[in-house]
């Protein structure tokens, strides 16, 4: 099936198997392997990307369903070589250990901040209930998101 999907600002025309999941489209068709697969059953959230600006688990939708839409992956978050404040915060505040959940965490949290730019800690925790981390105990992840939110309030960025 023919699809036209914009990923990280670039339009891709592909002829794909209609059964192909979005996450496989990103990883295998486009070679964007920053989006990880952790569970196959939509629990872990490692595959979270932005679909028209909203956080979506890319293992839960077919690539054909997003025909004509805009996708942002972890590879598209940095702008002109400058890391997104959320990426910086995860790095600086040790919001990761093995890092496998990190792209999903960063995409989920940036999407959430777009709807709630100044969340409480409780709200941040609630927004991440669909994203597993097995290494950090989540403490530094929550701290990183809080710090990024504060920074972004001072210096708004895109996405």
């Amino acid at each position: 099936m023919q699809v036209s999907i914009t990923v990280n600002g670039k339009r891709y025309e592909r002829n794909i198997d209609p059964r192909m999941l979005l996450v496989h489209f990103l990883r295998e068709e486009l070679g964007l392997t920053g989006t990880n697969i952790g569970c196959d059953t939509s629990q872990c959230g490692a595959c979270t990307v932005h679909l028209n600006g909203k956080g979506v688990k890319s293992c839960t939708c077919l690539a054909v369903q997003v025909d004509g839409m805009d996708i942002t992956t972890i590879e598209g978050l940095a702008q002109n070589g400058a890391l997104h404040p959320m990426q910086e915060a995860f790095w600086e505040l040790h919001g990761l250990q093995c890092g496998y959940c990190t792209p999903g965490m960063i995409m989920a949290s940036t999407a959430y901040l777009a709807t709630n730019p100044s969340p409480s800690e409780e709200e941040i925790r609630g927004s991440l209930e669909g994203n597993f981390c097995r290494c950090t105990g989540y403490q530094n992840i929550v701290a990183a998101i809080k710090s990024a939110a504060e920074k972004m309030q001072q210096e708004p960025v895109g996405v």
Binding site: R27, L32, T33, G34, T35, N36, I37, G38, C39, D40, T41, Q43, C44, A46, T73, I74, E75, L77, A78, L83, Q87, E88, F90, W91, E92, L93, H94, L96, Q97, C98, G99, Y100, C101, T102, P103, I106, I124, R125, G126, L128, E129, G130, N131, F132, C133, R134, C135, T136, G137, Y138, Q139, N140, I141, V142
Partner: protein, 718 residues
């Protein structure tokens, strides 16, 4: 220039991890590679009458279907090679691998795997270790002659006499269940044969050189012909100590002379690596009226599953810690690990210490209650002190900090806990405090060493330092910590130090990322190698190069008659306090806050220390309350994250990590390991807190709402 320690150097690998650029094993797949698919047994116990691969071979795109006869030496295992690489005669658990399909696409490999026809004759399934130990039980490994994988006993003093003379005796029985590592990155990797006829495997793991050894044995090749490289490893926690698919990748690459790739699903991961041992422990403890513990008797049975893995070593740890962190003059501790048709069990953060001390910490509390003594005073009176004697009749290694760690935990709990009442009449709150001990490094005579090489380049000053140390970065941050240690010794900026750690042909063997040992032992090897290289540098060697193999003081097996011996060269100590809220109507236990106090010897990187403690606490919380890996008649009933529940952000309490610095004499700058310790006292601390909240003991893990409600009901009936 000083000050590379106790500083939160941000980890260099984080750049690639926050941008999606860092490659995990599953990211290494490229066009043109062959895709592998395992045909799992999917039944717990059966004789293989025939394997028909014709239909699979005929499937378009299929290149080969490998079976047992293709494996040069068909057995592997960390300690005993009792696990077939591909089963040819018998399957003993649902995770057994029977055939390996190689095809041009993943879809073709998957479709063809379903076309492999295996004619099975089902055999009786033993799903309970106690049943496996019955004299008339069918043997799971005929050549082994018994269903006992291993048994172990520690005897000290005269237990019978101590019980006869005791003022008070308490008894109870405990049971724990499987825990799944649930590292987020499922097993994956690629393999190929290079121009030097070497088999290169790029994957994830916890010990490059042990993976290499086992693969070389399987292929009957010299170790130099095998190269294991680790890509970014997406968590491990002990679950990557055993080979899972690394050897299958190597086998296919070697046989087919093509680059091969394999990427497991979560379900394959769940059945494809060992779990934490389920253990039942019958305990009897005795004390004098003044609160001195006089005797501990513990008899334990562990479910080893279908293959030995590290059961033999795990049960020694369980037996050793039957008396917890306490000095007891009379001990009888026995344990047996049995083969069953369940999934194999092996290493998981804590390596037996959590199971043993779940029982021990509840027992000391019950003993205190029976004596009318404050359970914390009971701990203070009996806890290990410098110069104390171990259950194996030797003096504890120096650096015993159990008491100051406990005291700090008690003080913190006093300040931070128990100050708010519950918000509703059906909620009850309680606080629980428990202590824990865990060996650092290998035990009981298992060969222990770490090797590191340091090269210094430059002229007047050191422009570049290269540190080679084969220590696996599994997320814990070891490469950052080891680099900080090198920077501190060399007084060379962090950025000028290059770490070479992920290639078995380029980095020397530093042992496994396990047993809380890398900072201590690999760190010491790096420290010593850097010092030796620096010495040469001062003697005008250019470049200056030094390789050091660090061997800590030797441990020994136990004397077969007296059971005396040197079990370990170092220990880590922790104490934890938890405050819980129990919902009387639902049985739900909510941990409100947790204090986790650890002696880390010397803080190398504060961020990483707190990160390890917090992550460990949350895994421990899962172990205590949520995580219930289930098998029925040998079949896994929780093969996904939809049925195996992991802690989410919403389950996580306020966590207060505290690191104390009582130097470990052997450690680099006094640093000691601690990363397993959060798993040790937590579950009993929760059980004690629940008891303090509602007055009932939960002695089975996990403490699910159903079990809590059942216990409350029983209390009402009584």
């Amino acid at each position: 220039m000083t000050g590379f320690l106790n500083t939160s150097v941000t980890r260099p690998d984080a750049a690639g991890k926050v941008t999606g650029q860092r490659a995990y094993p599953g990211d290494l797949v490229r066009p043109g590679m062959l895709h592998l698919k395992v045909v799992f047994a999917e039944r717990p116990h059966a004789r293989i009458r025939a394997i028909d691969t014709a239909a699979a071979m005929a499937h378009p795109g299929v290149v080969a279907v490998l079976t047992a006869e293709d494996v040069p030496s068909n057995g592997f295992g960390l300690i005993v090679p009792d696990q077939p690489v591909l089963c040819g005669e018998v399957v003993r658990c649902v995770g057994d691998r029977v055939a390996l399909v190689a095809a041009e696409t993943p879809d073709a490999a998957e479709a063809a795997a379903r076309l492999v026809v295996i004619d099975y004759e089902d055999l009786p399934v033993i799903s309970d270790p106690h049943a496996a130990l019955q004299t008339d039980a069918p043997l799971l490994h005929l050549g082994w002659g018994t269903n006992i994988i291993s048994e172990f006993a520690i005897r000290k003093g005269d237990t019978a006499r101590a019980f006869a003379e005791a003022d008070v005796i308490v008894e109870d029985e405990f049971s724990t269940t499987w825990q799944e590592h649930a590292f987020l990155q499922p097993e994956a990797g690629i393999a190929y044969v290079d121009e030097h006829e070497r088999v290169i495997i790029e994957t994830a793991g916890q010990w490059l050189h042990e993976d290499r050894r086992q693969i070389a044995t399987m292929l009957q090749l010299p170790e130099e012909r095998i190269v294991v490289r680790y890509a970014a490893v997406g968590g491990a926690f002990g679950g990557r100590e055993d080979l899972s698919l690394q050897h299958l990748l190597a086998l296919a690459a070697w046989k087919l002379r093509r680059t091969v790739a394999m990427n497991w699903s979560r379900e394959e991961s769940m059945i494809g690596h060992p779990k934490r041992h389920p253990v039942t422990i019958r305990s009897r403890w005795a004390a004098r009226r003044d609160g001195t513990i006089t005797a501990v008797e513990a008899h334990a049975v562990a479910d080893g599953g279908a293959y030995a893995s590290t059961s033999q070593e795990v049960i020694k740890v369980i037996a050793l810690f039957a008396s917890g962190t306490y000095e007891v003059p009379n001990i009888t501790s026995t344990i047996v690990a049995a083969y069953t048709n369940n999934l194999p069990t092996g290493a998981f953060r804590g390596f037996g210490a959590p199971q043993a001390q779940f029982a021990a910490e509840i027992m000391i509390t019950k003993l205190a209650h029976a004596l009318g003594i404050d359970p914390l005073d009971m701990r203070r009176r009996n806890i290990y002190r410098e110069g104390g004697t171990e259950p194996t009749q030797v003096t504890l290694p120096p650096g015993v900090s159990a008491l100051p760690v406990l005291e700090r935990c008690i003080a913190e709990a006093h300040t931070r806990m128990g100050h708010e009442p519950p918000a509703a009449p059906y909620l009850r709150r309680g606080i629980g405090i428990a202590a824990g001990i865990k060996n650092l490094g290998y035990s009981f005579g298992y060969p222990e060493q770490a090797t590191a090489a340091v090269e210094l380049y430059g002229d007047a000053s050191i422009n570049r330092a290269v540190v080679r140390v084969g220590a696996a970065e599994v997320g814990q941050g070891t490469h950052t910590a080891l680099r900080q240690i090198a920077a501190e010794v060399l007084q060379v900026p962090f950025e000028r130090i290059e770490m070479i750690c992920d290639d078995s042909s380029a980095a020397p063997n530093a042992g496994s990322a396990s047993a809380s040992r890398l900072t201590l032992i690999a760190g010491r090897a790096v420290h010593d190698a850097a010092r030796a290289a620096l010495q040469q540098w001062h003697e005008e060697e250019r470049p200056a190069c030094a390789t050091v193999q660090y061997r800590p003081p030797a441990t020994t097996p136990l004397d077969p008659v007296t059971t005396a011996g040197r079990p370990n060269y170092a220990y880590g100590y922790a104490s934890q306090a938890v405050e819980v809220e129990v919902h009387l109507l639902t049985g739900q236990v909510q941990v409100l806050r947790a204090i986790s106090v650890h002696d880390v010897g010397r803080v190398i990187n504060p961020q990483q220390v707190t990160g390890q403690i917090e992550g460990g606490v949350v895994q421990a919380l899962g172990y205590a309350l949520l995580e219930q890996f289930q098998m029925r008649d040998g079949y896994v009933t929780t093969p996904h994250f939809s049925s195996y529940l992991l802690p989410t952000t919403m389950d996580v309490p306020e966590i207060i990590p505290i690191a104390l610095e009582h130097a470990e004499p052997l450690g680099p700058f006094g640093a000691r390991g601690f990363a397993e310790l959060p798993l040790v006292p937590f579950a009993p601390a929760v059980a004690i807190a629940v008891y303090n909240a509602i007055g009932v003991w939960l002695t089975r893990l996990p403490m699910t709402p159903e079990r809590v409600l059942e216990a409350i009901k029983k209390q009402h009936t009584a």
